[in-house]
């Protein structure tokens, strides 16, 4: 049986199918069966996802209301919202919020510009196109901890080449906050720009070619074409890339952990949650940090999705 006969049969089968489903009794019976099968197939995914995230999160909410250290289990005591007050009054929490926000803003902004440039190159390059696409997937696939070590050793005084190459002599990159954050953000940017650039490339390919040609014929400059034709048509791809990368960067943990261990005020929010819960086994206050971290993510997602909606609404309105 070859493919063309299958295709023509498919059309035929589609025809008979719609004829049978015209009978109302058969349709309801069929749709009831379909609903049951759908629920059955979706159930395992649903159960696993809820069991391993929603339940522990509720457990964290409960734990956050207790004074509870694993080193002192007998001292477990209900203290209401005191853990939250302690965390929110602690300058460490706010310093970590600031560090996380700085890393997120800088890395996402740089990645968006760089990712667009990469997407543009991959779109335009003719010879060696697949070579470039293959090469760019390496940082995407590499283990983040490995990336962190590679960049750390490149900048580290005793092993690195960076100071030699740039004539910086004995400058210690990990001796201060800003230079440490620079290296952390650089590793983050190197590792995750490919993801953004591939998403943007997918958006770029979908920009209608005839629109660009029409704009060129009408005498639009390259800059006008970019601002008036390309970017507006890529809005959905840009928003998706922005949403995922922002939330991803906000949860950054691996890079600061490996590079600085949180020294010089480079601790991020995920790192704080890890330190309180796992290193200090202070599950009461640690859970309060966890719940607060979760709320910051909800807030960011909410703002984005709201912006998203109005954007998509506007796009529909225009068309």
């Amino acid at each position: 049986m070859n493919l063309t006969t299958v295709r023509s049969r498919a059309r035929l089968a589609g025809g008979t199918h719609s004829a049978t489903s015209a009978a109302p009794a058969a349709r309801t019976d069929r749709s009831r069966h379909e609903r049951r099968l759908g629920l059955l197939l979706a159930a395992p995914s649903f159960v696993v996802m809820v069991a391993v995230t929603a339940y522990p999160l509720l457990y964290a909410v409960v734990l956050s209301l207790y004074r509870y250290r694993l080193t002192d289990p007998a001292g477990k005591e209900f203290i209401g919202l005191e853990n939250y007050v302690t965390v929110l009054r602690d300058p460490i929490w706010w310093a970590d919020v600031a560090t996380t926000a700085i890393i997120t803003l800088v890395s996402v902004a740089v990645e968006l510009v760089l990712g667009f440039a990469f997407a543009w190159v991959m779109y335009k390059v003719l010879r060696g196109r697949s070579l470039v696409r293959t090469g760019i997937l390496i940082p995407y696939g590499i283990v983040t901890v490995v990336s962190a070590f590679v960049w750390r050793y490149a900048f580290q005084l005793d092993s690195g080449f960076v100071n030699q190459w740039f004539g910086l002599a004995e400058f210690n990159w990990f001796g201060g906050r800003w230079s440490s954050l620079f290296v952390i953000t650089l590793s983050e940017i190197w590792k995750t720009t490919p993801f953004i650039s591939l998403l943007l490339l997918a958006g770029l390919v979908q920009v209608p070619g005839e629109l660009l040609e029409a704009a060129t014929v009408d005498g639009a400059t390259a800059r006008q074409r970019l601002q008036k034709v390309i970017l507006p048509n890529m809005k959905a791809a840009i928003m998706v890339a922005l949403l995922f990368r922002t939330l991803d960067a906000w949860r950054i943990f691996d890079n600061p952990y490996v590079m600085t261990g949180g020294a010089n005020n480079t601790e991020t929010l995920s790192f704080l949650a890890y330190r309180q819960n796992v290193s200090l086994v202070n599950l009461g206050a640690g859970s309060a940090v966890s719940v607060l971290l979760f709320l910051t993510v909800v807030l960011i997602a909410f703002v984005f999705i709201k912006g998203f909606r109005t954007d998509l609404g506007q796009m529909k309105g225009q068309r």
């Binding site: 759908g38 696993v48 390059v125 005793d158 998706v240 943990f253 819960n277």
Partner: protein, 277 residues
């Protein structure tokens, strides 16, 4: 002539992108072949002055690393297979069936894709110790399965939506049994999407560090990323830089192989769920 020149121009930019992507890899390989005793004497150069396999011997003689490698492979493979199978059911239902709760499932998957894993390390740490699965394979496979599911469901349902499902009925009209129709028509059409999803899921599990370092304590379940971070913590003054780089090269090899073999599929998979979904 002019077109030729611009084409060369873009090739140059392409080469620059390649340098940016691969340059740190060259540094990693170089450092892994440097002599551990002398690599930091004087002013370090980019390439080794003399190449040595010593770091690779050190790493493979270290039972901490070989155990971690075994754990990484086992946990990532099992979690990937489970996640792809469970997500395949859901993706089929989303792409083909009309049932209540479809949007709830997709929203839940999206919410979990955004979920801060760090918020779970405390409760999971406590729960897993209570359940007796702290520092075991299953203790890592469960959360990996969970956090890989959203990616798997979104990517696979995007692929499944493009399959011409009528062909299954067409084959049956031609006299194939339902099983034959599924085996000979649907499986070959669906396999590329499933396979691509499996690669992306494997990358996620292979890469994971936060949960691996929170939910393990010995080499019975500790994966390579976690083992690497403890490797350096052991001695602050004699940090085994070159050995860590040799271990890094070893865990990067599977990634490079998968990328080289399946470049086209990975790109398609990465963009399928996000842009079309």
């Amino acid at each position: 002539m002019d077109g030729r020149r611009t084409s060369n121009w873009w090739s140059l930019w392409g080469a620059l992108v390649l340098v940016w992507a691969l340059f740190p890899l060259a540094w990693m390989v170089s450092l892994s072949f440097k002599d551990p005793a002398t690599f930091r004497s004087g002013s370090p150069r980019f390439w080794p002055e003399s190449w040595t396999w010593e770091n690779y011997r050190t790493v493979f003689d270290n039972s901490l690393f070989t155990a971690a490698l075994r754990n990484s492979f086992g946990i990532a493979l099992i979690a990937t297979v489970l996640s792809v199978v469970v997500a395949m059911f859901a993706a089929y239902a989303i792409a083909r069936l009309d049932f209540p709760g479809k949007n709830i499932l997709l929203s839940l998957a999206l919410a979990i894709a955004m979920f801060p894993q760090a918020a779970l390390v405390g409760p999971l740490f406590d729960m897993w110790r209570g359940l007796g699965i702290y520092d075991t394979w299953i203790g890592l496979i469960l959360p990996y399965l969970t956090f890989a599911l959203p990616l798997s469901i979104w990517t696979m349902s995007a692929f499944f939506r493009q399959i011409p499902w009528e062909m299954e009925q067409a084959a049956q009209v031609d006299g194939a049994t339902p099983w034959q129709a599924f085996r000979k028509v649907i499986v070959p059409l669906a396999a590329p999407g499933v396979f691509t999803t499996a690669i992306l899921t494997f990358f996620f599990c292979w890469n994971e560090f936060l949960l691996a370092s929170s939910l393990t304590s010995t080499d019975s379940a500790r994966t390579v990323p976690a083992a690497l971070s403890f490797f350096t913590g052991q001695s602050q003054f004699e940090s085994p830089v070159t050995a860590v780089m040799a271990a890094s090269v070893v865990v990067t090899i599977p990634v490079v192989i998968l990328v080289l073999l399946f470049q086209r599929r990975i790109v398609a998979g990465l963009t399928a769920g996000a842009v079309k979904g």
